[in-house]
Structure formats: C-alpha cells, structure tokens
Symmetry: C2
Subunit: 270 residues, 2 copies
DNA sequence: CATTTAGTTCCAAATAGTGGAACATGGTTT
DNA sequence: AAACCATGTTCCACTATTTGGAACTAAATG
C-alpha cells in the first residue's frame, strides 16, 4: 500500500495519508497497528507533523487528524494547479443546459479526485465534494481519463485498481477494463452504466490539450429513474464540446503575470 | 519567516509554503532566489515533493505549484479537524436571520484561516474562500480569537503580526492591539471598524469550549453604506448565541463510528 | 496491589540529507 | 559559428539526521 520510499519526506506523506485514511480522528495505537513503522519512529513523525500543523492533535481525546495547514495549502493547489478556476464558467453553462449534476475530476495517483461539482438542485457544497476521491475503474470520469493516459502510466493505473464489485455491472478485471477503455478511445466518451452505484448512470468526456495530454474529465450524471441511457447519451455532444472548450482554454491560460515562453518536456508530475 | 527547523519534514513544509506563497505557478530560479536552501538541496526537495504529488510540475511551462494531493488531504482535514461540519447548520441560520455575509474562522499559525462562509447574495464559492488566510490583528474574527488565547500563545501571536497599515483605522502596534484585546475580553465580542478594508465593518464572537479553550470565531460583516455600527452591533447577541451553540456542539460532538464503540472512553478529560 | 496497555524518552548505529562544484542544455550575443 | 550566459541537472565525499530496540512512565484494569 505505501507508495514507496522517497526518503523521509515520502514516509511523512505516507503517515499523512494513513491518518487521512481513517476518516476520523485516530489514536496513536490505532495508527501503530496499521503502520509499518516502529513505535518510536511513528511517534516522532506524528510529533513533527503536528508541530508543523500538517496534523492536528486533540489533547482531550488524544487523537490525531489531518491539520489545518493542509487546508491553507490546498486552497493554493486548487486555485493554481487544478482545472477548476478555468472550468468554472463552462461547468455553470453545462449544468444549466442539462439541469443535471456535473462533475469535474482529475487523476491523482490512479484515483479519481473530484475537483468541482455543480448540483442543479441544491447550492454547491464545499469540501464535501471537492477533494473527495473515488475509484477510477468504475466511474465515468475515471475511465474517460484512463483511456487517454500514455502506455506506461496506463499500465500502472490499471494495475492499481481494486476491482471491487460494487454492483452487478462493475468491471472486475483488468481485461474487461482495458476492453472498455478501447471502446472509449474509439467513440471519444465514457459511460458509467450503474457500475459504481445502482441506479446511477453517467456520460463523461476527457479534457485534452491539443497535444492530447490528458488533463481531466467532466461528466453529467443522472439516476435511471429519471432518464434512460439513450436520453443521457443525447447530451454527449454537449459534454464533449464543453470538454474541448476547457481543454482549449487551459492551453492558452496563463496566470496574470506569468507569460513566459514554452520550454521543453522533461519531468512528469504523477 | 521560516517556522524553524523540525528536520527534513520542517524544511519540506517550508518549501511547500514557499511555493504556495507565490500564488501562481513558479519556476525553479524564482524559488531559488526567495529560498535559503542551496540549489541542489532545493532541487531535490522539489523533485521529491513533486514525486509525492504534494507539488505539481508543468513540464511545458517548467513551473511548480501546490499539488492535488494536498486537496485530497485537505478534504479530510476540513471534514475532521475543522469546526465547519459542526458549525454548518448554525451558520445557515445566522446568515438567513441577518441576511449578511457570515464567516467561520480558525487560527492557523497566528493567521486567520477562513474555514467556511455564507454569502447571502450568491451561492457559496468553493475553495475560493475556504482555505484563504488573512491577518489576525485587523479582522474581527482574528481579534476575537486572539483575545482568548492563553498567555504564551497570545504573546507569540501578537509578536508575529505584521501591523501593516491597511487603512487609517488599522491598529499598528502591539500595544494598541493588546488594549483592544482587553476590551474584547471585557465585552465578549470583537469589532472590525474598517481596520482591514475601508467601508467594511464587522462584529465577531469567539467560539469557546466550556473550559474556555478557544476553537475559532464567527463574524457578521457589512459595508458601511448599508448599515452603521449601532445597527450592526444589534446583531451581537445573536452572533454570540450562535457561537455558544457551536462551542457546545463541538464539545459533545464525536465522529459517527466513534460514538458506537465509545464504551471504554472517558467522555470528558477536563 | 499486581498487571496490562498506551504513550514517551534515550542513544549508539546506520542511513539519508547536504551542498560545492562540475556538467548539460538551449537560447542569445558578438 | 563560436563564445557566452542563464537555467536546470547530476555527482559524491562529508556529516547531520533519522532510526528503532529497549527501557521507562502513566494510566487504566482486574
């Protein structure tokens, strides 16, 4: 489960993930059980991270939880390196046209990270949706994104899926997933036909640069009660167009002051 | 500026802060200039952090920015260690009653961290507000929180303010601030009388546990055009009551699963 | 009161981080 | 075209930091 070394920093990040994974404040002993680190080592990590505000410690209950400094940093991350600020106006349009729930997602270590959302019915909920993660192999956005990964990254991503059977229709093998990805590449959009949650269907399109670098995906979701697949697929051209617009915009987009020239291609942010 | 050592992890966090401080994607050389680290050292930090998804690297533009992994972690932080999930319903009520902008803030290394917001006019904006930081010495929530810090923390906090003069009314010295904090402690609420932005006034109350531990603050904000101070101060009892309710709720609050297997857990450590 | 469990501290050995300097690359000037 | 410069990347001997077994303390349990 641990991502692999990267020295002290990698280990510290692992600890952060581990704390976050509990989805509730955790005690030292609980972490120790689920951890590969020896007691003293884990202890020191928790101390240091708490000290840094990356974790918070509740002295009354003696529990650790992800800290507020992360919220501060994430604000910067969301603003700067997510597609959200660029995509916002387009999502607004799409959600109004369709009247459906719209998601904007990016890939984060082979998982789907929801970055923004429009919910036709209610006003937007804050972090309750942005920052949430989900499986890639059984969601529209996840499959749409995977289909456009380069070979190496794809192989890695495909092998890291859990293939847990959420519903009868969930794809539960690498082979089945790869077949679907081929199909997606052919037609240019992905479908989630109740593969994650029964009664929930969606169509999704990848967001690509002109050089076909995959940046993210958007989807329109509905419940089967309100609409069947043919009706939902009618939205595809719209979704695709919006995805293309976002992709194009992302390409031209620079931060106000930043207008440097393009460089060459080397390191890849995974 | 740097928080002080804490070994490798501390340094890595400093680098994260540094990248975030630019508020835009930043190149290696720019970071190097504003950094105390030697070239090779900084370089390795950036590599490792990028590798870990704590930073993202744009190969086309050769820039670094805070990474998406932070967003994922912050989601957990917001859900678990902020007051936001507890306070949400109360904020809803307060904003509807007053029809004004309502903020929920917590203290993060002597700065104000906005954790949630209600804006009467428009629907909530996502991270655009939550995660944002502001000065403590010249905002209602900031002063309300500082007034209820223990002596040591207060001394540290007071000494770490910038005392930049934003407006004519900004408190620009430790002495002036301390005097105002005394006043706040006396009457139980804080005022921001155009100290941060001209034309913007607010009243704020601290959120305290029964043991007087300070958890955060809430405020109601208005522009002077629409309302003068006497009118705004009329909201104080309401604001205070909501702050008290949140404080009380925070005390009893446990995470869903935690409640069930809580048999062996003392409820109050006092 | 003895006993278990949870959390904290210590320190010698081992490892991982450090940073000066040399190298690579691509763009610009002479 | 050669010399130059700015930016980014790699190397490696030196050293500071991390490591983790074990001993210790504090508090809960029977």
């Amino acid at each position: 489960m641990p991502v692999a070394g990267d020295g002290t920093i990698g280990k510290a990040c692992d600890v952060l993930d581990q704390v976050a994974a509990f989805e509730r404040p955790v005690r030292f002993a609980e972490l120790l059980d689920s951890s590969d680190f020896p007691k003293a080592t884990l202890y020191r990590f928790l101390q240091t991270l708490t000290n840094q505000g990356m974790l918070s410690y509740d002295p009354e209950r003696q529990t650790y939880a992800p800290g507020m400094r992360l919220v501060r940093l994430a604000h910067a991350a969301w603003t700067q390196s997510s597609l959200a600020p660029i995509a916002r106006p387009f999502l607004d349009v799409l959600s109004q046209e369709t009247g459906e729930t719209v998601h904007l997602a990016q890939l984060d270590s082979s998982q789907v990270l929801y970055v923004d959302k429009r919910n036709a019915a209610q006003p937007i909920e804050m972090y309750s949706q942005a920052g949430k993660v989900g499986p890639a192999y059984c969601t529209g956005v996840g499959k749409a994104m995977m289909a456009y990964l380069d070979d190496d990254t794809l192989t890695k991503a495909v092998s890291q899926q859990s293939y847990h059977r959420f519903t009868e229709k969930t794809l539960t093998s690498e082979a089945a997933l790869r077949a679907d990805l081929d199909l997606i590449r052919q037609r240019g959009y992905a479908i989630d036909d109740e593969e994650h949650e029964p009664g929930i269907i969606c169509v999704a399109c990848p967001i690509l640069t002109s050089g076909n670098r995959m940046l993210g995906a958007i989807s329109v979701t509905r419940s089967t009660e309100r609409m069947d697949f043919n009706q939902l697929e009618a939205w595809v051209p719209r979704v695709r167009r919006v995805a293309e617009q976002i992709g194009a915009e992302a390409q031209t987009w620079r931060f106000p002051e930043l207008r440097t020239k393009l460089g060459n291609d080397r390191m890849q942010a995974t």
